[in-house]
């Protein structure tokens, strides 16, 4: 891995954590949304952002989650699986909007892993938990798609790593 690539990914991970904590504009009652999840769309522009996003999720769960052990397995696992599916599907889909739609669908569906985690650990009802967590993820990813598209238009994310 090139020095610039992993350094940029390290700083992306820091940005993921900073944005997670400081910007919470879409929090409604007891359903909270992690805004930095919109960074998941960055793999649509360049697959090299994979490690930065995973490191961001990993560190956020390691230092700030009340359920470290579970979140490191299920939370990071959900991100890794979803990102890999998006990266693989990008080989067959060229349109950026279509890639972001696939990414949104994959992340929303894979929230079943988080619902499974909460069901195993704390006996939360599986389908209800899947529904509430999926609503949060879908909202952030859907709202995040045009935002990341606008950022890419100005910064050309595909060339930065």
């Amino acid at each position: 891995m090139k020095t610039k690539t992993f350094v940029a990914n390290g700083i992306l991970a820091a940005l993921y954590i900073a944005v997670s904590f400081l910007i919470q504009p879409f929090g409604f009652t007891n359903i909270q949304f992690r805004l930095s999840e919109m960074f998941n769309h960055m793999v649509v522009f360049n697959k090299r952002y994979f490690f930065g996003i995973v490191a961001g999720v990993f560190l956020t769960n390691l230092f700030f989650s009340p359920m470290v052990g579970y979140d490191l397995v299920f939370g990071v696992g959900q991100s890794v699986i979803s990102l890999i599916i998006t990266i693989l599907s990008a080989k067959f889909v060229q349109n950026i909007w279509a890639r972001m739609a696939i990414n949104t669908a994959v992340f929303t569906f894979s929230m079943c892993l988080i619902a499974w985690e909460l069901n195993l650990a704390f006996h939360y009802p599986f389908f209800f938990t899947w529904l509430t967590t999926a609503i949060g993820e879908f909202t952030v990813m859907a709202v995040g798609a045009p935002i990341m598209y606008a950022i890419n238009k100005r910064l050309h994310l595909e060339d930065l790593v």
Binding site: M1, T3, K4, F6, V7, A8, N9, G10, I11, L12, A13, A14, L15, I17, A18, V19, F21, L22, I23, Q24, P25, F26, N30, L35, F51, G52, A55, G56, F58, L59, L62, F63, P66, M67, V68, G69, Y70, A121, F122, H123, Y124, P125, V143, P146, I147, A150, I151, R154, L155, L160
Partner: protein
């Protein structure tokens, strides 16, 4: 906003002196064996074991309580959910469709204890280990993955860079947010579309600044001869001690006791 990463509390205790690898393995195993508890003796044993860890760490109780505050809602929510959705045994209370049974109440208490000991145990890890020790420990533990061509060294360094830059980026984010607010931007009111639009002028300078920093840092590292982990030496070496083995042995004993006592 003060963001305390890892919330490390420096103290001189046996828990602080443990090798980060032992603590990481210990917490990972503990998170799994917690599932073995299913009756009062096993949950009591877990509570005593966790309390002993807190006592040995010399970390003032207020830090533990502070760690529990943000998740108080989660604990209450978990309690209520389990109490109301477990319909076994005689009813203790009934109001419309709401029913609290004796089995539901006990289940709710058990799950709440499980959540509590989990949070305290994992909080103890971050309270007694510096973030940099944790990343060093993780690098060592993940090193077998090198055989699968996973870039372990780069991943560990990436995490170290992230930890170094979190305070800088938090400060920068706050500065940009204040500057945009002064220009009339509203991040937490208005329609969803309005709020989404307000985020773009916040994220663009953040990304520009972050990637500029990355380029400068990468250049500085290469100018100083950085060549990955080839021939790289370390200032601080992790050394496995007897106390680390004792920790893992005590978790093995705890596991055996839980298996013996569970109903």
């Amino acid at each position: 906003m003060e963001l305390i990463i890892g919330q490390y509390v420096p103290r001189s205790s046996v828990i602080h002196r443990l090798d980060p690898r032992a603590k990481l393995i210990g917490v990972f195993l503990y998170v799994i064996i917690v599932f073995l508890a299913n009756n009062w003796p096993t949950y009591a044993l877990l509570a005593v074991f966790t309390a002993s860890g807190v006592a040995l760490s010399n970390v003032p109780l207020r830090y533990i309580v502070r760690g529990l505050k943000p998740v108080l809602f989660l604990i209450v929510f978990t309690f209520v959910l389990n109490a109301l959705f477990t319909h076994q045994g005689p009813a203790l209370f009934k109001f419309g469709w709401l029913e609290l049974t004796s089995a539901g109440f006990i289940q709710a208490v058990f799950i709440s204890i499980r959540l509590l000991v989990l949070i305290v145990a994992t909080t103890l890890l971050t309270l007694t280990t510096t973030p940099i020790d944790i990343t060093d420990g993780l690098e060592q533990l993940l090193s077998p993955l090198k055989k699968l061509r996973f870039p372990v060294h780069e991943f560990a360094l990436m995490m170290a860079i992230a930890l170094r830059f979190i305070p800088t980026l938090v400060e920068e984010t706050e500065k940009i947010m204040k500057a945009q607010t002064a220009r009339g931007a509203e991040f937490s009111s208005g329609s969803l579309v309005k709020r989404a639009k307000a985020i773009v002028p916040l994220l663009v300078p953040l990304f520009v600044g972050a990637f500029k920093r990355a380029e400068e840092l990468a250049m500085a590292m290469e100018a100083r001869g950085y060549r990955g982990d080839v021939g790289r030496t370390k200032w601080r070496l992790l050394q496995w001690q007897t106390r680390d083995t004792v920790l893992l042995a005590s978790i093995a004993l705890l596991t055996a006791a839980l298996v013996f006592l569970r109903g």
